[in-house]
């Protein structure tokens, strides 16, 4: 049995926000694949849970009138991977979604939970960094929309105010339109494993030149990071193998890799360079470019 002292199951978002405002000490639970496992391991003892599972429409994936792709925070990874809009507009996010956990976990684990958990290894995080995603956060008082990059405060820490809920992930049109993308998850196993490194790349190519390149790295620093030096270098340059190699070298700049039992610092840095190279090359290909070496 889980060490839970109470379980709140609001049926509307307004009700959830009101309960959370009055009881900010509650632990929010979405799919439960992080929270319940932590409880099984003995943390969060005696917590009260605020479950968002009975709230309808919080899992919807839709295209807003201005072309923004909106993904409800409660959308499970299987739904994201299979959804037509994701396949059509941001296949790279589908790629990241299906790399997470295993099928039974993906059937219940939500993208919002994945982000709010604050893990640097979150498969959706580096991809949403690369896609310049925004987060819609709501409290009983009001809402704010912040860039993904402002959300991560440190390992396992995110910038949510007391009583604030992540409601949706927004990917504006300029974040995805005309972009080729690729996500590489490097892990010892193909399923049920935590990324040793995650590299997400999206790029826009015109006449075999980089119009735009965005790279997000997971597990390269205490929080997911963007590789701005590499991105700036690429802008306007012709796509050549040498250029891709230089981009990959520059991708190391924001990295603050450290040694852990999963991998040494040196190994992680090697992975960043090699996998950035591969991910950029594949994203270029998918974006209609060519960097044959």
């Amino acid at each position: 049995m889980f060490d839970i002292c109470e379980l709140c199951e609001p049926e509307t978002l307004a009700e959830a926000k009101a309960i959370y405002a009055a009881n900010p000490e509650l632990k929010v639970i979405a799919g439960g694949t992080d929270v319940l496992i932590r409880m099984q391991h003995g943390s969060l003892a005696g917590a009260g849970l605020l479950s968002l599972r009975c709230i309808p429409h919080l899992d919807e994936i839709q295209l807003l009138a201005d072309g923004t792709l909106s993904i409800g925070a409660m959308a499970p990874f299987t739904r994201i991977f299979e959804h037509e809009l994701i396949r059509k507009l941001v296949p790279v996010l589908g790629e990241a979604s299906v790399s997470m956990g295993g099928p039974q976990v993906r059937n219940v684990a939500t993208i919002g939970g994945n982000l709010c958990n604050g893990a640097v290894s979150a498969d959706s995080a580096s991809t949403l960094f690369a896609l310049d995603a925004l987060l819609k956060l709501e409290t009983a008082e009001g809402e704010r929309i912040i860039p993904m990059r402002d959300f991560y405060a440190g390992p396992g820490k995110v910038n949510l105010l007391p009583g604030e809920l992540l409601v949706a992930i927004l990917i504006p049109r300029e974040g995805y339109e005309g972009m080729g993308g690729h996500y590489i998850k490097f892990a010892p196993r193909k399923a049920m494993d935590i990324a040793t490194l995650g590299v997400a790349v999206v790029c826009k190519i015109r006449e075999n030149r980089f119009v735009e390149l965005r790279i997000g790295l997971g597990v390269a620093a205490p929080v997911p990071v963007r590789c701005f030096e590499a991105e700036d270098y690429a802008k306007g340059r012709e796509v050549t193998w040498e250029c891709v190699q230089e981009i990959a070298r520059l991708a190391l700049k924001p990295a603050k890799a450290r040694s852990s039992w999963r991998a040494s610092k040196d190994y992680r840095e090697h992975l960043i360079e090699v996998l950035a190279q591969r991910a950029v090359a594949e994203a270029v290909k998918r974006g209609g470019g060519c960097c044959a070496n």
Partner: protein, 173 residues
């Protein structure tokens, strides 16, 4: 809706769900997992407790037709849902084609992972979709078998999918 658990008093909740085609109404403790309720209260011991943290897939059941790990699913969440455990497949002693495929391929050794794997395969067959070899392996990747390997399990799943596709082709529309 706000289920308070004041000073050691167990917070309880009335749970209505359908398990293996039968309506079940039961009072549960909010601290229980769906696995706890299915095994210990309803005696569906075909649902196996393995790792308890969603890694091994032994506790997999179908919730509204979708495979999920019942060990990390609150029993309270099952309210209004339709649950299928391995006990819900065979009817009047007759195995389902998926179960037959596992027997025919010899895809069972100790049997501990089998209920979960059979249910995940059943979900694939019931989806009516077709799956590539890699997709079959991916859909079964949330199950650990510690006896031998996965070849026969994958063979059995592919056999079940093949036979279901053939049966669908032959059935009059």
């Amino acid at each position: 809706m706000l289920t308070k658990n004041a000073a050691g008093v167990k917070a309880r909740k009335r749970l209505c769900m359908t398990v293996n085609g039968r309506a079940v109404e039961i009072e549960i403790d909010i601290r229980e997992s769906l696995l706890d309720v299915l095994r210990d209260r309803l005696q569906f011991t075909g649902v196996k407790q393995g790792c308890s943290v969603g890694e091994c897939g032994a506790c997999t059941v179908l919730i509204d037709g979708t495979p999920m790990n019942s060990c990390i699913y609150l029993a309270a969440w099952a309210h209004g849902k339709t649950i299928t455990t391995i006990e819900g497949l065979a009817q009047d002693g007759l195995l389902t084609p998926v179960q037959e495929a596992f027997v025919d391929e010899g895809a069972i050794q100790c049997g501990f992972c089998t209920p979960g794997v059979v249910l995940s395969t059943t979900a694939m067959v019931d989806s009516g979709k077709s799956f590539t070899h890699d997709e079959v392996r991916r859909e079964l990747s949330g199950h650990l078998c510690r006896c031998t390997g996965y070849q026969k399990i994958v063979d059995a799943a592919e056999r079940a999918l093949r036979e279901a596709a053939t049966a669908a082709d032959e059935s009059p529309v």
